[in-house]
Amino acid sequence: MKAFDPVQMATPLFIITIILEIVLARFGKVKANYETKDTAVSLGMGLFSGVAGLLTAGVAAAAAIWAWQYRVFDIPMTAIWAWVALFLLEDLTYYWFHRLSHERRFWWAAHVNHHTSQHYNLSTALRQTWTGGLAGTWALWLPLALLGFPPAMIAIQKGISLVYQYWIHTEAIRRLPVWFEAVFNTPSHHRVHHARNPRYLDSNYAGILIVWDRLFGTFQPELDEEPCRYGIVKNLATFNILRVAFHEWIGMAVDVVRHPRHALGYVFGRPGWSHDGSRDTSATLKAAWVRQQEGNVQVKPDAIA
């Protein structure tokens, strides 16, 4: 269906740049840390995410084609204005997809593995989901097909967005020119997104344009006084790739079985939501951090279960 696949085309670039980042870090030219098992998990997740994606790609493509049959406009794939419009609308769609993937547990379960590394290097970019297709987030792009953008065009733009987001997973680039940092998602902005510091949680959801975060109030600049600590709130203590891929799904299922009356909350609530308030969400962690900053530390003994 696609005229070409930007991700497939960029794969040699992924390999070359990871080699470059490792070699330059080895000689102290750039900042980067690679831990062997962590790298293996990241690259393994990336390798098999393509296979997992194939299982649902047919459904997603069929849905896009079906939606396109009922399109409001006929949008030509050859027009420059159409690509500009799609660039903006696809990036806006990505922002909300990404925000949903962080703010609701069902979709977080599919996305969390991308955040499980305690490292932030180019291999982290390839730590991709195996269950995103099953989580059905591809449906968020259907309005673009209904609007009239050909499914192939949407697929190409999604690929371009994914390739763009690859190079921002690095500590090798500190800051880019102010005008670029103001408009585009950059390594600095995305480091914040991958950080587990309470201050940085749930921010910078952008794909290519950081302007969406500025517009919707989720922008958080990287602060020199607060270096990013990477990973998730409760870091994994395993390199078992199956646990990395499925741990949140299993945790969610266990919660639903144990508390069936609160199933909706455990599935569609915020990550960390619990019926008795015994766990922490991003909001409670941020609130505790603010209290701590104000010198009024009130931490529940069992709050960080």
């Binding site: 080699i19 062997t36 962590d38 293996a40 690259l43 393994g44 291999s123 870091n235 646990r243 003994p301």
Partner: protein, 117 residues
């Protein structure tokens, strides 16, 4: 697949993991201050090989598990930590967490006689 193997091999060969070193009480305290802010540390047991730690904090046990060049922290009821199996100098703590199933900490003895209650 070959490319993945090559890149992992390269990462292992050049050795650019985060510099760490064995844990001591000071470092454990610093890590746990971030993981469990505001918590008091009543007693600290650092693994004899410096690769993990167990801390009593009120009625809870804070467990620091090594993972690669970093750490993962969990908390469990103190009674559960006390009753963990101890064999051949290894304390094996069941964390009952799919993302952190077990912590193994090398200790000279367990449980501590004065704090087991």
């Amino acid at each position: 697949m070959a490319a993945v193997g090559g890149l992992v091999g390269l990462a292992a060969w050049v050795g650019i993991a985060r510099p760490g070193g064995p844990l001591d009480v000071e470092r454990v305290s610093a890590i746990l201050a971030v993981e469990f802010p505001g918590r008091t540390l009543d007693a600290v047991w650092v693994a004899t090989d410096g690769s993990g730690a167990l801390v009593r904090s009120g009625g809870m046990a804070l467990v620091l598990c090594p993972i690669g060049d970093g750490f993962a922290a969990r908390q469990i009821p103190w009674a559960q930590a006390v009753s963990s199996s101890f064999r051949n100098g290894q304390l094996r703590i069941d964390l009952a967490d799919i993302a952190a199933p077990v912590a193994t900490i090398a200790l000279p003895s367990w449980p501590p006689k004065d704090l087991a209650a």
